[in-house]
């Protein structure tokens, strides 16, 4: 008798526990979805308005109907129209070229520096760290004039390197700091064991540490790329017609009349440059994360 009661009770309690756990899980996943929706709205609502405006006729730029009205493709055609000297297509290529170059170079030299800072023991480490950080402290607007003078003196005005090198310097401090902080978190014992297995230090770093650091490196790459993608101040003064990036191209969109801000064309351009970037990042992310899981060391 007593045993049966006890076992029933036990079963009941287990059931209850399981149910509670199930409920908790359900509730947790519901909360996740609610949060996800809130995030989507917060991030996308203004972008939605950008897209809606991009598809609006210029005469109805200021229409506030919350859904698309007076729909047209004209703004996209205007954005790519080359007859008035706009070279948006070229500018897009320039931005991609500059962005990729900046990202690759700053990652490579950033990884070197971060490895040294995280793994090596040397004097003046703090001095170097302070120096690198100090580079992010000067008001960007005050850099233009000296750089203009410098690049004029060495005949670099309007060249790609005059746009790439400053961008590298802007993203390097962040790259180095991020990578250093991540590198310090890495389980370096694995590198040791790889070396015991006969890898050289370089091989150990490439084959063991790099895959583990992939999320960090990938994140840093996105940060570097977007930061270069967004850069405007320096490019507006140091680029020319042939080398100007999209940010400068968008700023030189003009209305049919002076004073008229061509919102619809700007929004169309904004849409054009944003969507491919997001797709690009997603594709890469999937690939890298997949590669990471496949080649997991653990």
């Amino acid at each position: 008798m007593t045993t049966t009661t006890a076992s029933t009770e036990l079963r009941a309690r287990q059931d209850k526990g399981r149910k509670a756990a199930q409920n908790r899980e359900k509730w947790a996943s519901a909360r996740t979805y609610i949060s996800a929706v809130v995030i989507l709205i917060w991030c996308l609502a203004p972008a939605y308005w950008m897209v809606v405006t991009a598809f609006r006729e210029v005469d109805f730029t200021y229409d506030t109907t919350p859904w698309p009205t007076h729909v047209t493709m004209d703004n996209f055609i205007t954005a790519f129209d080359t007859s008035f000297g706009n070279r948006f297509g070229q500018a897009l290529l320039n931005s991609i070229f500059i962005g990729v170059t900046v990202t690759v170079i700053s990652l490579v030299i950033g990884v070197f520096a971060a490895y040294a800072l995280a793994r090596l023991n040397f004097r003046f480490k703090y001095l170097v760290l302070g120096f690198i950080l100090g580079a992010s402290m000067f008001p960007g607007v005050a850099l233009i004039t000296p750089l203009f003078q410098l690049f004029t003196n060495i005949g670099w005005m309007g060249t790609y390197q005059a746009l790439i090198i400053p961008n590298i310097s802007f993203v390097l401090p962040l790259t180095v700091y991020t990578l250093t902080s991540f590198f310090r978190e890495m389980p370096w014992e694995l590198e040791e064991s790889a070396r015991v297995d006969g890898c050289t230090q370089g091989q150990a770093f490439r084959k063991v540490i790099m895959p583990l650091a992939a999320p960090a490196i990938f994140t840093t790459a996105i940060l570097a790329f977007i930061s270069s993608w967004n850069e405007f101040l320096i490019a507006s003064q140091l680029s020319n017609e042939a080398t100007k990036p999209v940010t400068v191209a968008i700023a030189s969109f003009a209305g049919a009349q002076p004073n008229q801000i061509p919102y619809t064309a700007i929004m169309a351009a904004g849409t054009i440059v944003t969507i491919p970037l997001v797709i690009l990042v997603l594709v890469f992310q999937r690939k890298i994360v997949a590669g990471l899981t496949a080649g997991a060391v653990k």
Partner: protein
């Protein structure tokens, strides 16, 4: 002992960069001296570059093609800047400071002429380099001159115009008081009465100067010294302040730039509106316009008659660092001759600087407001012609904005403007 360790970078940075500076050729500090540069290369001929802001209506390219066809050895390259005046200004400053000969002929906004001239960056247009200004409107020529010397050739002009709802008021008001008297009509129709541009930006300088000048005051006296503590200036600024207070100017006008105010008028929310001529074609053609054929245009209202508009527009100037000044001079003469002026007006609705064109029948039929505009420009007062323009406009904007928002009295605002401008021109 840890603090110095962190501070050390600055020291090393110093050593590192001192060597760099030595090679870089001491950046910055662009100042005059201009004398020798202004004497050089006067006879130079060859390819040149023309620089101006965004060519909104595609009028510059065809002109340059035309020129290039006629001058195979003196080709002109067009360098187009962005659409924003600030950026155009900074771009020019960078190039002048670096003393490059990349820019030969530059388009300068009327308010930049004095600053650039005083820095020694613009070729004085006198003696061998003189151009003929006979037949040009007086105000644009005045605004292209500094200390009695012409530094740029007026290229296009602009003046403020009063737009009014002719379906509601039969005849445009001649004076400010008359206009304020008509505001009851606006109230009856449940719309705002009057608005110009009152956001804190260059447009506010335009509007505040117009108010002050129209009431008989002036921002600077003939010696270029501030002259704002006068009863006339106070009356002028108070006209705007009072209109904001009693609602004749709607409260949202404090956020208006040209386009926001144009929209308010075009949507039928304003009885009277101050703006530039460019909005004419938009109001008459834009799909969302509610007043297409219900508006008229008139000179700005003043104290006893037409008011004093602020002058807009651009001039063409030659860089002192240009190698081919003879070609440059020919080119600015070409840009400002009657044929090209007419082309600008026809294709881009840019107000000509030659008075004869305002009577040109073909143009008048295309741009019916030309007669009004001519009167506006004839009465126009250039915005303060001073090499300290950036400081002057800052002083006007900040203080008149505070007055319009009721944060300080017009009297106080003008006194502060006066002191700020005095301090700016005292040098530092």
């Amino acid at each position: 002992m840890k603090t110095p360790r962190f501070l050390l970078p600055a020291a090393t940075a110093g050593v590192l960069a001192l060597t760099l500076t030595a090679c870089g050729g001491g950046g910055g500090g662009g100042t005059a001296g201009g004398g020798s540069d202004a004497e050089a290369n006067l006879e130079g001929r060859g390819p040149i570059t023309y620089v101006q802001g965004k060519d909104n209506n595609n009028v510059v390219r065809p002109l340059i093609e035309k020129w290039n066809a006629e001058h195979p050895d003196e080709q002109v390259t067009f360098k187009e800047q962005t659409d924003q005046a600030d950026q155009q200004h900074d771009d020019l400053v960078q190039n002048f400071q670096a003393k490059t000969d990349d820019y030969d002929v530059v388009s300068v906004d009327v308010v930049w002429t004095a600053e650039f001239a005083a820095k020694g960056w613009l070729q004085p247009l006198k003696d061998k380099m003189a151009i003929d200004t006979n037949g040009m409107l007086e105000a644009p020529v005045e605004s292209a001159s500094y200390k009695g010397t012409l530094y740029a050739a007026p290229k296009d002009s602009d003046g403020g115009i009063l737009y009014y709802r002719k379906d509601l008021v039969p005849e445009a008001p001649k004076t400010w008081d008359e206009m304020m008297g008509m505001c009851s009509i606006a109230k009856e129709n449940n719309i705002g009465c009057y608005a110009g541009q009152y956001k804190q930006y260059e447009g506010l300088t335009v509007n505040a100067s117009e108010a002050i000048n129209s009431a008989g005051g002036s921002v600077l006296n003939d010696d270029g010294k501030p002259n704002l503590t006068t009863p006339e200036a106070e009356e002028g600024l108070n006209n705007l302040v009072d209109a904001f207070k009693n609602g004749n100017i709607p409260a949202e006008a404090i956020t208006y730039q040209e386009e926001e105010s144009r929209r308010a008028f075009q949507e039928g929310k304003l009885l009277f509106h101050r703006n530039w001529p460019y909005i004419y074609s938009l109001i008459t053609t834009e799909g969302s316009s509610a007043v297409k054929d219900k508006f008229g245009m008139a000179p700005l209202p003043g104290k006893d008659g037409p008011g004093a508009s602020s002058l807009g527009g651009h001039s063409a100037a030659i860089s002192v660092y240009s190698k081919n000044k003879a070609t440059a001079l020919d080119f600015i003469k070409f840009l400002t001759n009657e044929e090209q002026q007419k082309f600008f007006a026809n294709q881009a609705s840019l107000a000509p600087v030659l008075s004869s064109l305002y009577e040109d029948q073909e143009l008048v039929s295309k741009l019916p407001y030309l007669t009004v505009l001519q009167e506006s420009i004839a009465n126009a007062v250039p915005r303060p012609v001073t090499p300290f323009y950036p400081a002057v406009t800052q002083a006007i904007q900040e203080n008149s904005y505070a007055a319009l928002k009721g944060e300080k009295s017009a009297e106080q605002a003008l006194a502060d403007m006066q002191k700020s401008i005095e301090s700016a021109s005292a040098g530092s």
